[in-house]
Amino acid sequence: MLLGPSLTVSLILFSIGVAGVLIRRNAIIVFMCIELMLNAVNLSFIALAQQLGREGQVIVFFVMAVAAAEATVGLAIMIAIYRHKNSLNVTELNLLRG
């Protein structure tokens, strides 16, 4: 049911996520775009699971757990950098270069 459209929507969502990561400058919004990419993949898994069996649905739970763990760590890192810089603009991450 709706396998083709679901996969297309998933591809579009993934592309929006990629574009957001490349364009946006606020670290939190960049991270939201990464979450969007992960959830786009989840949509693919769910859509494919209709045809290919329950395995795909189980994978989605693993991905959700992984995304939650990433969010915890990522937001903590962002707090750490905000304490140093009072900003989350990724273009200002320019101490390390050479």
């Binding site: 494919l48 395995e55 994978i59 693993f62 890192i77 101490l95």
Partner: protein, 504 residues
Amino acid sequence: MIPAYVDLSEASGLLVALLPEVFLTGWVLLLLLVVAWQHRSAEDQQLVGRLSLAGLVVTLALVILYWLRGPEPEGLELMIALDGFRYATAAVFLIGAILAVAISMHYLRRESILVPEYYLLILLATIGMMFMGGGADLVVIFLGLELMSVAVYVLAGINRRSIFAAEAALKYFLLGAFASAFLLYGIALIYGATGTTNLTLVYVQISAMGLQTDVMLIAGIAMLLVGFGFKVAAVPFHMWTPDVYDGAPTPVTAFMAAAVKAAAFAALMRILVQALAPMDSVWTEAVWWLAAITMVVGNVIALAQRRLKRMLAYSSIGHAGYLLVAVTSGTDLGTAALLYYVLVYTLMTVGAFAILTVVGRGGERDTRIDDFNGLGSRRPWLAFAMTVFMLSLLGFPGTAGFIGKWYILSAAVQADQFKLAVVLVGASILSAGYYLPVIMAMYMKDPVSDTAHVETRAVGAVRWVIGVTAMLLLLFGVWPNAVLDLAKEEGRQLRPAVLVTVSR
């Protein structure tokens, strides 16, 4: 004691098959309790470090025991592989982790970083790596990769006082998570095309259904390669590497450059050889280009670096290129060369970074090659060890790095990739331009001042790490046969499981 056959479709069978990983996980949970109790003083931290070291050593012993007389799978390897490749890579990761913990113990005390959880994160990352090298299912490999990555994001920013570490952690996190999403999308597309995530079944499906030209599958492989390209720091996906290696605490950098990279390569090799072998016409070309560009760009930019830490970061990109050459060949010899080089590379990288912590004394980021001036006369043994590491990274005859590189070359030639072999030799010659100045500075230049290197002293575990790695590199350089034979034997085992059963 260990059953000869295990049924991996049952929980008990899986438990037996996963004993080393289960032990290390249990040990981490116990240590977490210890840390909850004892986390106030540097002595407590030292205690956790020693306990972590003990846990890693026991796990290494278990892995070796399994390697010698491990159980055979009854039927299909469903989630975890039971082959020599898993044990060989696990042993390399554990050795890398042991060396990293050993150099951390002194470093953390000197920099007064009081975070006992540091060691737990290294252990957790190691468990993730073991699943990456041993997973027989794309999802298990993905979960192992995430377990490793999330732990290493935190490790990069473990020094909360350092703005450089915070910046490194954020860059690593954002690009690492970005890469994971690509990898996951690749897995989803491969699942969609073949209907399974099991490596062996993917192989069977591709061959049986004739999916060699399937668009979804090819797109999935492309996404997978992008994801792994980020993780192994292949050019053009390498932008994060120099910054992150530069900003992270030096022992963490050593751990990232050695073990984390080795784990990504182990997973990549296993997926390409065991599941995607019928698609080799698709990925060989892509990996070929990645390898060639990575070798050239990594080595050329390294030439321009004056600061040693950043130079080693670029050199590690160059070495990722050499390892990609071994992946490109996709043969048994290529796998064997990868295994051997990953071990040697772990030893020489950790050794070089260990010396950097000794000479840099807290200012590793700003340690220039000139700061090594005259080390040869003031600290002859340290200078000698550094010479061994530099020559081995360069691939100079008589060191293990030479044997490893020669082995990769012969794998490339055997697979008829002469052009890539030429690029590899050219890149190695280029790399002499930045490894040799370090040696020249140590032996041919005078110390900057009379007080230079007076404080430079390798103490405690760091001294052991430097000594043991340097000696092993020399030993494997003149007498590599035992390890080479082992690598060849395990390299032969990594192939689609269907073919292994036929050949038994």
